[in-house]
């Protein structure tokens, strides 16, 4: 009689690269159940999900627009995770960056773009950094779990935003809960005429390149990688774990803040309540899918950008709920994480 047994065996290195690629079809098989329950044909749905957005130039560019903040939140989360800091607060740091950028953009009047744009970038970075500071200090000084504090900080900033938009920043002309427009000198320039593709994507790609260089080529990068892999081993080697981790946490928050600045300066030109619809949380999915590697993160961000765009296409074309995009994203994360665990097991035939 032939029987199979499951046993533990460490997976080869190339498996890690393969996992996100396997995860995608598995995710589609699982989510097609949800689509069929809604009475739709999964193949048509996936055509609208994955192919239709790339079929026309304008919607393909829209994928890039959607990917711009995702590149940044993904890079932010990956940077923190790489350094052993579990930053779940990219969403909140994005909001803080958006608030800070709005403050800069509405305070400056008639600035030349050569000053206005760097000011927005610095403002966004500083906002995200400041919002990451309390959790990082609590972690380093008192050992409070950063997963909890960064997550809670997300809820706080939503209320701060709401207060600002319904209070001091309420648009005096329209009385809508949205801030006044930012100064034209602080607007990120369009990259292609008659599209929403803006300078933010260049910022994002620069951040990704710099973070790759820092992680892999500098002594700071070696320190943070060592801490991320083994705090004890890093500390034993004389690395200042607390100081390094604090820096990692703040830089991660700053990068997430840039995503918020980009949305204000490149898309909306004012602050609104719904500046992010879970872009920060998608960053966690992207960082995981991308294997925490900056280049992997870029691909994952583009892919999630495609799904986000596709969700709108599906909903328009087939009347399926737009939340299908979230379902696909979440399933993808679970499948990926599951595969990371399962890769260490093998079936073996026993006689």
């Amino acid at each position: 009689m032939k029987k199979f047994r499951i046993e533990r065996a460490p997976a080869p290195g190339w498996m890690r690269t393969l996992i996100p690629i396997i995860a995608i079809p598995v995710t589609f098989i699982i989510t097609s159940i949800v689509i069929m329950l809604d009475g739709a044909n999964p193949f048509t749905a996936y055509y609208h999900f994955l192919i239709a957005p790339l079929a026309t130039k304008s919607s393909a560019i829209e994928v890039l627009v959607k990917s711009t903040p995702l590149l940044l939140t993904g890079a932010a989360v990956a940077f923190a995770f790489k350094g052993g800091y579990w930053n779940i607060g990219a969403e909140g740091q994005l909001y803080a960056g958006a608030i800070a950028a709005t403050f800069v953009g509405t305070t400056l009047v008639n600035v030349p773009p050569i000053l206005g744009i760097p000011a927005m970038i610095i403002g966004g970075f500083a906002g995200g950094l400041l919002w990451a500071l309390p959790s990082a200090l609590l972690k380093v000084k008192l050992g409070v779990d950063e997963v909890v504090t960064t997550l809670l900080m997300n809820s706080i900033v939503l209320n701060v935003t709401s207060y600002l938009l319904n209070g001091p920043w309420r648009n005096p002309v329209s009385m809508w809960p949205q801030s006044p427009e930012i100064d034209p000198g602080t607007v990120f320039p369009q990259l292609l005429p008659r599209t929403r593709l803006h300078f933010g994507i260049i910022v994002a790609l620069a951040v990704i390149l710099i973070s790759w260089f820092v992680i892999n080529r500098t002594s700071f990068g070696l320190k943070m990688r060592a801490i991320g892999l083994s705090k004890e081993g890093a500390r034993f080697a004389g690395i200042k774990v607390d100081k390094t981790m604090l820096t990692v946490a703040l830089v991660s928050g700053g990068i997430a803040g840039l995503a918020g600045a980009g949305e204000v300066a490149g898309i909306h030109f004012h602050l609104i309540d719904a500046i992010s619809d879970g872009l920060g949380y998608s960053g966690i999915i992207i960082a995981t899918l991308g294997g925490l590697h900056p280049f992997g993160v870029s691909l994952a961000a583009l892919f999630i950008g495609l799904i986000d765009t596709g969700a709108q296409t599906v909903s328009r074309a087939m009347g399926l709920p737009i939340y299908l995009g979230d379902v696909v994203q979440s399933t993808l994360l679970l499948v990926t994480l599951g595969l990371f665990v399962l890769q260490n097991f093998r079936f073996r035939r026993v006689e």
Partner: protein
Amino acid sequence: MHAVQMKGIVKRFADLVASDHVDLELEKGEIHALLGENGAGKTTLMRILYGLYSADEGQVFVNEEPVVIRSPKDAIQNGIGMVTQHFTLVPTLTVAENIVLGESGSITLNLREVEKKVAEASERFGIPVNPQSLVKHLSVGERQRVEILKALYHDAKVLILDEPTAVLVPQEVEVLFEALVRLQKEGLSVIFISHHLNEVMQICNRVTVLRDGKLAGTVKVADTNLKELANMMVGRENFGVTRQGVRERGKLELRIESINAVDKKGLPALRDVSLEVHQGEILGLAGVSGNGQAELSAVLCGTQKITSGKIFAGDVDLSHADTNDVCDACVGRIPEDRHANMVGELSVAENLILDQMNKFVKNGIMDKERIQKNAVELIKQFNIKANPNDRVRTLSGGNMQKVMLARTLSQNPRIVIASQPTRGLDVGATDYVRTTLLEQRDRGAAVLLLSEDLEEIMALSDRIAVIYSGRIMGILSAQEATAEKLGLMMAGSPA
């Protein structure tokens, strides 16, 4: 009549064959030693017998009947009990509660009844324990007795003891041996895992020797001698490494002045410890595991704080030092847990520069070429079997330890703190590490050697201090130290 037979047992872990067609026969009522170096496959074989691993090939017989043992539960049902090096007792429960833990007879637990039954068993097997004591209040030796009683209480006819003496002081070993001999007379069969030849010669009837996962042979103790067993174990004569002669010691280098420290639970672990180590000497610190060695090592490595006292390396005050201060003060550290104190997922080359990054960095950017060159040189110099880009995690224990030695000693430290430097290494690697420590001493470094291996301490040290319950019991010169004297001090009587 055989109590247990294992025939042609094969166990593979990925590419490693941990057990390669091994046979073992255990007669009823014998104490059978399973001898071999670390990594020879002793524990693997016993884990298979106890159902913790499943064999890839081979057959197990109990009382001459073929059996399939899939879990410890199956093993217990077949009358097999195992006492591992790491005890499986719950410290906050009583002895009686621990012994019946996992029994699934009924929903209710009549503790009085259980205590009475445990007391009876304790009487019957001649293993004195108090059923009502909390396990956390027991000494290591007493906990081991509880483990043995637990196995016997569940009707074990075969008892597997995995290196039972490793955690005991010599006097406790005697008590254990007396109990085993008595139980043997009553018909218990014992498999006694060890790598201490003397113990094997003392109480065992037969010996099965394993080497590199293969059976090296089974012999009667009466027909063999230490030298033959040693040969079977290592496949070559092991002369070991010992200190040569007496050296003139140099000036005072490491000064520890009445330091106190607490353990992880906040209980005192070091009490007024004072030690001095001079240039060109090895000061050995002997003691049974868990008497403050780990804390002393952590304090000197900068990973733990002291509550009072002073530590000086030369003129540098390290009393409140962090790890980077210790590195800066040129104190070389060989920690007891090399897995935790290296970064396994980083490469050999990266680990080799981790505590001296500044030498390989220009304006914050790493000089890849020099890092690679450094790794190639050290790999050659320290005879490490690895490539610079291999992840440290994939190395064997011996090679991992060599990476640690290479990183530490290539910086010519003036003080070396070596904590259990040969634990878990095979004979070849052990010899290498010991030779390297002696080289450091001859070079003029002040070496503090913390080891639970008394033979190692006696072979290498110029002076020997003994720690017991966080206190230094005394310091003997190598000439006046004997195993008996040290053994008494390790059990708590002052010199």
